[in-house]
């Protein structure tokens, strides 16, 4: 995906900023939350402890009174009146006690009385007394009686609805008492004191925790004694409540509380409250447990608000920053975009378009300046190139003309002397791409003397072409006056060397054949040796006299060699362009190959032999570029002309 610099810069910067912001907000939230939770833990525990100790104080007072009464009964002289007064006195001096009873074992108060349990309790702001027990109210199996009696120690009962006398929800402290009899101390019954649960519930509901926080109280078996939901009280234990809500964590809390432990736990979802913290505290005497529920939402409202505000500020900052970054990156990249368009124009060849005006002074300004000078340089260069190309084309054209002229001075019409039967002559020149300096010529110096030559001017180009033209003209002029080829070469050499400041030179093989006798005289100024093909004999290289090439220095005496040709003998002359012709792998054609090809066509006519060699060389070169002129001249002596 391609992203602009501006977008990348914005994305990176904003991502970093967001990360930093999230870390700051997150850290602030965590710290403030932890502080609040810690405060809540302390506060909740303090509330739980305070409430527990208030309840405990009442319970302990009640227990104390009950035990004192139980102790008094051991020796007291018991009458119905005494017991009735006792109950009233207890209630009168203990406003926290709802009712009190002294319940006797069967027959323990008097023979023949199964149930005897005088009970005094508060009713409509007055104290009422009844006698408990009867077939409808068998108190011996009531917890308030049976527990203390069977366990033989004072106990707090679980909360219960008493339908025997009090007709209210209550808990009872029961203490067993004994009577001194002739058989020693005998268990005689229990003394009870009741606490109205309404009092307990009022105490607990008066504890203010927070708007929707609350306190609840569990009995020793987890029954709800006080809870804001009245439907739970006495109907549910925390365990059935947990079962009904399918909330195992509530059951675990119940187990902790019932086990008499204190603690502070977090709930993710407490019905009616949601996420909450619960601080719980045991009431050890009764093995009850009290819990303070602190809704998390309310506790954390402050921290959440701060977090929201911080997030809001952060978001606003984010938007502002995003705007600034986009604006700044725009000012940086706009000139770049303009430059990009301009460069595109340049690439398309439009060098005359004006470059955008970009204020210098920064990197982009420098870049714009560089672009402008680059464009100028490019335009100059292209102009120069155009001029140079035009000049070169003109020169090339002139060279081509020069070459045409050069080639046109070589004899090209074959057979050159149709009326002379003594000779069969054929020549060819295949010029290289560059102008070269090969030359050949043949002419009759007089009636019977046939002069022919081949040569190669050093160097290439127009000078070589001129030198070759001069050489040819000179030879022709000199050959008409001098007889011996050596002499001719010496004269030509002197002429050429005379004004040869550029030190050019030419190799030349020049021969003169007397058509009447077949006598051949020749001179060689540094040219490679020609091949002589005689009838019935292998070809041989002749006439390499090992004398210097012409034109370099004056006053050279060239020798004249001689031999006799028989009719049918052929002389095959080449320039080094043949032996040095190269194939594409840069291998030379070589003289050996030339020898071979020529031998194979020893009996052919001059033209056929020459064409065969030419074909062989072309074949060898196989498309490789020709680097030198390839020039060949074949002269076949056919014998003296018939008289």
């Amino acid at each position: 995906m391609r992203l602009s610099i501006g977008a990348r810069l914005s994305a990176l910067t904003l991502a970093c900023v967001t990360l930093i912001l999230a870390m700051v907000v997150g850290y602030a939230y965590v710290v403030s939350r932890d502080t609040i939770v810690e405060l809540a833990r302390k506060n909740g525990t303090a509330v739980a402890q305070g409430t527990a100790s208030r309840i405990n104080a009442q319970f302990q007072a009640t227990a104390k009174v009950t035990e004192t009464v139980a102790a008094t009964l051991e020796d007291a002289d018991l009458s119905k009146r005494f017991l009735s007064d006792l109950g009233r006195r207890v209630l009168f001096s203990n406003p926290g006690i709802f009712g009190t009873a002294v319940a006797f074992e069967p027959q323990a108060f008097e023979r023949g009385t199964k149930y005897f349990a005088p009970y005094s309790y508060r009713r409509n702001y007055a104290i009422t007394s009844v006698n408990l027990g009867g077939d409808d109210y068998n108190y011996f199996t009531k917890d308030w009686y049976q527990l203390a009696r069977e366990l033989n120690r004072p106990v707090w009962t679980e909360p219960y609805y008493d339908d025997g006398g009090g007709d209210t929800l209550m808990i009872t402290y029961s203490a067993p008492f004994s009577r001194r009899t002739p058989r020693g101390l005998q268990p005689a019954g229990v003394v009870t004191a009741d606490i109205d649960l309404a009092w307990l519930q009022r105490t607990i509901s008066s504890v203010s925790v927070s708007a929707s926080g609350y306190v609840f109280l569990l009995s020793r078996y987890g029954a709800y004694i006080a809870h804001p939901d009245p439907a739970l009280i006495m109907n549910e234990t925390i365990f059935t409540h947990a079962e009904d809500l399918n909330l195992p964590s509530l059951r675990d809390l119940g187990k902790e509380m019932v086990a008499g432990r204190a603690g502070f736990v977090e709930f993710s979802d407490l019905p009616g409250v949601g996420a909450a913290y619960v601080a719980y505290q045991p009431l050890p005497d009764e093995r009850w447990s009290l819990a303070v529920v602190l809704p998390k939402d309310e506790l954390l409202a402050g921290a959440n608000r701060v977090t929201r505000i911080m997030t809001g500020i952060g978001l606003a900052g984010f938007v502002l920053l995003a705007g600034v970054i986009l604006a700044v990156s725009g000012t940086i990249t706009r000139p770049l975009r303009i430059l990009t368009r301009a460069a595109g124009g340049i690439a398309a060849g439009n060098l005359d378009q004006p470059m955008p005006a970009i204020a210098p002074g920064d990197e982009v300004g420098d870049l714009a300046a560089s672009f402008t000078s680059m464009k100028e340089a490019l335009r100059r260069h292209i102009a120069d190139l155009t001029t140079a190309t035009a000049a070169r084309e003109r020169i090339e054209s002139e060279l081509r003309i020069a070459r045409d002229i050069q080639m046109s001075i070589l004899p090209k019409i074959f057979p050159p002397f149709p009326d002379r039967a003594e000779l069969d002559v054929y020549a060819s020149i295949v010029p290289a791409r560059e102008v070269g300096g090969d030359l050949y010529d043949f002419f009759f110096a007089d009636e019977h003397r046939f002069c022919f030559l081949i040569g190669d001017v050093s160097g290439k180009g127009v000078p070589a072409a001129f030198f070759m033209a001069v050489t040819k003209t000179l030879i022709k002029a000199v050959a008409e006056r001098e007889k011996a080829p050596g002499r001719i070469l010496s004269k030509v050499n002197d002429e050429l060397a005379a004004d040869n400041d550029s030190c050019m030179f030419v190799t030349l093989f020049l021969a003169i054949l007397d058509t009447r006798t077949g006598r051949l005289e020749f001179g060689n100024a540094g040219h490679n040796a020609p091949l002589l093909l005689r009838r019935g004999r292998p070809p041989e290289w002749i006439g390499s006299l090992e004398e210097p090439m012409a034109g370099a220095m004056p006053d050279i005496d060239y020798t004249t060699g001689a031999l006799d040709l028989a009719p049918g003998d052929t002389l095959f002359l080449t320039t080094d362009g043949v032996g040095e012709a190269m194939n594409p792998t840069l291998e030379l054609y070589t003289d050996d190959r030339l020898l071979e090809t020529v031998s194979a066509h020893a009996n052919a006519g001059a033209q056929d032999m020459l064409r065969a060699v030419s074909a062989s060389v072309t074949d060898w070169a196989g498309g490789a570029e020709q680097s030198d002129d390839i020039t060949m001249l074949a002269v076949r002596y056919l014998g003296p002309a018939p008289q």
């Binding site: 077939d135 409808d136 109210y137 011996f140 199996t141 009531k142 917890d143 049976q146 527990l147 069977e150 366990l151 106990v155 009962t157 679980e158 219960y160 609805y161 020793r220 078996y221 987890g222 006495m234 109907n235 549910e236 234990t237 365990f239 059935t240 409540h241 079962e243 009904d244 059951r251 119940g254 187990k255 019932v258």
Partner: protein
Amino acid sequence: MRVILLTMLMLLATTARASDQPLRLVLHWLPQAQFAGYLMAEEKGFYAARGLDLKIIPGGPDVNVSQHLADGRAEFATMFLSTAIERSAAMDLVHIGQIVHQSALMLVASRDSDIRSLKDLGGRRVGMWGADFQIQPRALFKRLGIEVTVVEQAPSMDLFMRGGLDAVSAMWYNEYHTLMSYGLEEKDMVAFFFRDLDLNFPEDGLYCLRSTFERDPAAARAVAQASLDGWAYAFAHPEETLDVVLRRMKEHRVKANRAHQRWMLARMQDIVLAGGAPRLTLSRTDFERTTHILMEQGFASEPPRYEEFVMEPTP
């Protein structure tokens, strides 16, 4: 002719009286899911659908249902089979339908105690309710040859929880869950079911005086059949049933919680169906086992014969 007319008038008067006054079914305990079938039959009009105008009288610790029948305070009653057989010595009771086919009575010991087998109960303090609930335990202890100290237990199970009893009687559908509601897990308790100890006493059944039955057998059968319909409905619609049961409990100011009643209804389903379809038939084997043990324990000397006692239609 006048005699016939008079007789007809009397008959009409009798029927009229019978239909004017609603019939009453007295339950042998406080309203709870143990009686869900009867409550739902009343609630959903299954009694009315069978032409009965029937009112349910809830029982309680101090309601003696056979006394209600004897005094004419109710025409029909639910009772344990064992109770009914005992009472039939003094009053002419007939069985008109068996609802609970399996005994839910059990003994529970704490896993913390060293009681692991029934033999370990020897010499221990075992909580029991009134005489009706002591027949099976006493027969068991006799069979095992052990003596236990029987302590009459209160409904709260508090004495057991405080360690004042080594084992306690419990109904599977009720007190066993009460112990669970006090935070005990099932694994914390060692349970002995009488139904597994060759002491299966079919429990809740429907009864009336023979005279009531003979006066209107169709009505008696309708009561039994409608009650069974009520049970089928209760098992099919447990949540609706729990709503009704809890409402009834609250009306009677009985400690009520849904989890406990849900457990109770589920266990009632176990022991009412007892692996079969809803049925009113009393198994002769169970009847004879029960009478045999009652005689053995001295609770009955001349028990009724099955054919004379059991009135529900045989399938």
